[in-house]
């Protein structure tokens, strides 16, 4: 859910969406308008708490008069625009983009993507068995979280969450370029030698599970991760007076990970290392 702060009411502008006239507050994106109109547009690099980098291009739509397709997640709606979300041209690009992604990285832990692959009849296998893949071993260099770049789609969400959009730690960025571009800390060092402060806000926003709790990573490896058997309880962090909300994910009476509600107007889903990872004391039953 996106939090819309109350403010001065914004002017409405009118444009057409798939032939239907719609009205949207000034400043909304085409995606906002689509969602209010109940239209489903796939998104990967867009996140409800971040400014989208519009890098994944699965949300492209057709705008009358534009030479290329435009990303619905970041293009602002303009009065008089004619937008088609479901044209053959837009569907074709989405299909190919899904194929390109799924053939190069492991999307098995990405929610919803399997449905889109089906809906757009994407066939990632058609690039052949020799199609280049990211193919990297997971980096397990600390007890808190794991970086598995074989799952990374380079959506830049973690970079933005760690950088100027939330955490202001700037411990991660993109290195290299082209197909060899990778999320990396300085000097491509182990996390423990980097500027990372383990707030885990990057894990919170990662859409593919490329960044995940070590607890989740280990349980998946052991085959014991079972989301259907988990309960989620939202509570208030007990450490300090800020009062962040924590959502405890519990399986078999053990906290397996901690997330934070994105619609909390104070934290927007962000926590610090204590709230995110410091839960062991509540389940020490020595």
């Amino acid at each position: 859910m996106t939090v819309t702060p109350l403010g001065i009411p914004r002017r409405l502008l009118e444009f057409t969406l798939d032939g239907e006239p719609v009205r949207a507050p000034e400043g909304s994106t085409i995606l906002d308008a689509c969602r209010s109109a109940g239209k489903d547009v796939p998104t990967l690099c867009q996140g409800d708490t971040l400014t989208p980098k519009n890098a994944c291009r699965v949300c492209v739509v057709e705008v009358e008069g534009a030479r290329t397709l435009v990303p619905a997640c970041s293009r602002k709606a303009e009065a008089g625009m004619e937008v088609r979300t479901d044209s053959e041209r837009a569907r074709h690009s989405r299909k190919v983009v899904l194929e390109l992604l799924a053939s190069s990285v492991d999307l098995s832990a990405t929610p919803q993507v399997a449905e889109w692959i089906k809906e757009y009849e994407a066939k990632p296998d058609r690039f052949g068995p020799d199609a280049a893949r990211v193919d990297e071993e997971p980096r397990v260099d600390n007890d808190l979280y794991v970086r598995d770049y074989d799952k990374c789609i380079l959506c830049y969400k973690c970079v933005d969450a760690c950088g100027d959009q939330w955490q202001n730690t700037f411990a991660i960025s993109v290195s290299g370029r082209g197909f060899d571009a990778r999320i990396a800390v300085e000097h491509d060092a182990p996390l423990t030698d980097s500027a990372c402060v383990y707030c885990g806000n990057c894990i919170e926003v990662c859409p593919t599970g490329a960044l995940s709790f070590k607890s989740e990573f280990d349980m998946r490896a052991a085959g014991t991760w079972d989301e259907s058997a988990q309960t989620e309880t939202t509570t208030v962090c007990a450490y300090c007076g800020v009062g962040c909300n924590l959502t405890l994910h519990v399986q078999d009476n053990e906290i397996v990970k901690v997330t934070s509600p994105h619609d909390n107007p104070v934290t927007h889903g962000n926590l610090c290392i204590k709230g995110r990872f410091g839960y062991q004391h509540v389940q020490n039953r020595g």
Partner: protein, 646 residues
């Protein structure tokens, strides 16, 4: 921000290289020894971060001195500039001329791109590698087009080391900046050993073209003794001919002499500009019908008007001299042969759009253009033609040269802004457009070198006389870069409207022409029976192709087409910034498919060609920038127009 630095320390040499650019550190916050006073104040905030744009010059400083960028050097640079090391690492690894791993002090870049491939680049590479093995102190790297296609095959030697002499160029007005020339000698700080360069080597560059194994090996082992390059005029077969407009001075004036430039009509256009006033200049440029020569063919007058009218200030002017499109070398020849023309043209453009500062973003592979422009800018500044009061007219304008570091994508206008600002050269999404939010988020007019140089004849001859050249919709003269299978490769100037055949005849096209690549790697192929295509924006568009940046590369039937297409695909895969999926992965899938069909034709290739079409269509439609959008053009045209795999 949390700034955390590791334990790696810079060597004295690395520290000296950075200090030569930025001055000595003032406190322990910047990497000096800790003093008592440092315990009582903190450095930070906006002032500290405002020097971020010196990151790229700083990386150059270290790379020029040592040949690669170590952890200690990068951390020290970050400390001096208040840049998070992770971000600086991302920037350093973006550029192909930098290395974050140790490598020999000398790098030999051998061009393996289109023109050079046809002229024996592969043998040159293997030959040079065989002779310059381990222990030679030279690393041989295969390079995309070096912008020397008229003298293919080409190579560039870059040797790191101590700067050869104190900089003669006056420093920029506001603060020390990298003007590209040898930086001043490092200050010797008592208590530190005097910096030593391994083997006492001095920095040097050498351009070898046309190259043989013998000449590149010689140049790589002793770049300072390499024979001088032929003069820029050697690239202009028409040099000295009557009737040339843009190339009239190349080979005629002394590129080092401001007086000679003035004796050949220099600075009359600027005087006329001051008579007309900014609005008048924009009107002339608009009436002349000048259209951008950088590839996108956008009307220059409109761009200037839009920039000039922005309420937000300051405004910037950026000259795009990145010229990394394979097959393009016109801007280099103009900059090397007539550097003051560009300085004058930038001054006029800056005046028109209301900018007090112009950036000249020059590709890192052009040492001679860098030297000539740095010199010209210094001379112009010393003579009051740049600076606080240009020509005594109360207009303040200055030019800063920024050196690229090997990235074709930095020619894309918004990627270029990011590169100058010290970020990765990734294109920004548009809108907002540069005229509204460009360099440093401010209104910016960005123009190609050739576009800017056209402003001089527009002002000296008047819009009407200028517009009489060429055709109604494509006015003025145009530079073409002719290379490949021709007798006289080089830069040609013709009025718009000449046909492709006329141009090729001038250049001495050889028999058995198989194909012509128009507009560079992002352009398209045409057949030998299409030589009556008029060389205008509208004419090429009508013929279903593009003029692009003016590349005309001829291939006779000895050139294996599939290999050529593979090289083009490899170029785009290599140069993709990696930001968006259609381009990052699409260029890889395109190259893979071309590999599969390299030896196949007909039905055996049909499946992969269909696949290429589907991927190409999505790349064109859904990529963020022009690189991904055009990466499939040449291959598509080869399939459709040349029947490449039939």
């Amino acid at each position: 921000m949390d700034l955390r630095f590791g334990d790696s320390k810079p060597t004295d040499e690395e520290r000296a290289a950075v200090d030569a650019l930025l001055g000595p550190p003032e406190s322990s916050w910047e990497g000096a020894d800790r003093s008592d006073a440092d315990l009582r104040w903190a450095r930070g905030g906006r002032a500290a971060r405002e020097r971020r744009d010196l990151l790229l010059p700083g990386l150059h400083a270290v790379n020029d001195r040592v040949g690669w960028i170590s952890e200690g050097a990068l951390d020290y640079l970050c400390r001096r500039l208040t840049v998070p090391p992770a971000e600086a690492y991302g920037v350093a690894t973006f550029y192909s001329m930098f290395s974050v791993k140790p490598r020999p002090a000398t790098v030999l870049h051998v061009c393996t791109d289109l023109a050079c491939a046809g002229a024996g680049a592969a043998e040159l590479c293997t030959g040079a590698e065989a002779r310059l093995g381990l222990g030679s102190g030279v690393s041989v790297e295969r390079s995309p087009c070096l912008g020397l296609c008229e003298r293919a095959p080409a190579a560039l030697v870059v040797r790191a080391g101590a700067p050869t002499e104190p900089s003669l160029a006056p420093s920029a007005p506001t603060r020390p900046v990298d003007l590209g020339a040898a930086p001043p000698l490092p200050l010797h700080r008592p208590g530190r050993p005097r910096p030593q360069t391994p083997d006492g080597l001095k920095a040097a560059t050498a351009v070898v073209a046309p190259a043989t194994v013998d000449t590149v090996v010689l140049a790589a082992t002793a770049p300072e003794t390499a024979p001088a390059e032929p003069s820029a005029a050697a690239a202009v077969p028409q040099a000295g001919h009557e009737g040339l407009v843009l190339l009239s001075r190349v080979g005629v004036v002394d590129p080092a002499s401001l007086d000679d430039y003035r004796a050949h009509g220099g600075y009359t256009a600027l005087r006329r500009a001051f008579d007309l006033g900014p609005a008048g200049v924009i009107r002339e440029v608009t009436d002349a019908g000048l259209v951008g020569r950088g590839g996108a063919a956008f009307p220059t007058g409109r761009k200037w008007q839009a920039t000039a009218s922005q309420p937000d200030h300051p405004h910037y002017l950026v000259c795009n001299a990145d010229e990394s499109e394979p097959g393009t070398f016109k801007d280099r020849v103009v900059m090397e042969g007539d550097p003051y023309a560009l300085v004058e043209a930038m001054t006029i453009a800056g005046y028109a759009v209301g900018a007090r500062k112009g950036y000249l973003y020059l590709r890192g592979e052009y040492p001679r253009a860098l030297a000539r422009l740095t010199h010209a800018i210094g001379q112009a500044r010393a003579r009051g033609l740049l600076g606080d009061d240009v020509l005594g007219q109360g207009y303040a304008f200055d030019i800063e040269v920024r050196r690229g570091a090997g990235a074709y994508i930095c020619g894309e206008e918004t990627a270029l802004f990011n590169s100058i600002e010290g970020y990765r050269g990734e294109p920004r999404s548009k809108p907002p457009f540069p005229v509204e939010k460009g360099l440093f988020g401010k209104p910016t007019a960005e123009n190609n070198v050739e576009t800017l140089v056209n402003v001089l004849p527009i002002l000296t001859r008047g819009a009407e006389a200028y517009a009489a050249i060429g055709t109604e919709k494509s006015t003025g003269p145009k530079l073409f870069c002719v290379s490949g299978s021709v007798e006289r490769p080089g830069v040609y100037e013709l009025p718009f409207g000449a046909t492709l055949g006329e141009l090729l005849t001038l250049a001495g096209v050889r028999k058995r022409l198989r194909a012509v690549l128009l507009g560079g790697a992002a352009g398209g192929f045409v057949r030998p029976d299409e030589l009556d295509i008029p060389l205008t924006f509208e004419g090429t568009r009508e013929a279903g192709t593009t003029l692009g940046s003016g590349v005309v590369m001829a291939f006779d039937d000895t050139v294996p087409l599939p290999r050529l297409l593979l090289r083009i695909a490899e170029f785009f895969r290599d140069e993709s910034c990696g930001q968006c999926v259609p381009c990052r992965v699409g260029t890889v899938r395109q190259e893979e498919a071309l590999h599969r069909i390299a030896e196949r034709t007909g039905a055996a290739a049909a499946g992969d060609i269909a696949l290429l079409r589907e991927v190409g269509r999505a790349m064109r439609d859904a990529s963020i920038c022009g690189l991904g959008q055009t990466a499939w053009n040449a291959v598509e045209s080869a399939i459709d127009r040349l029947g490449a795999y039939e």
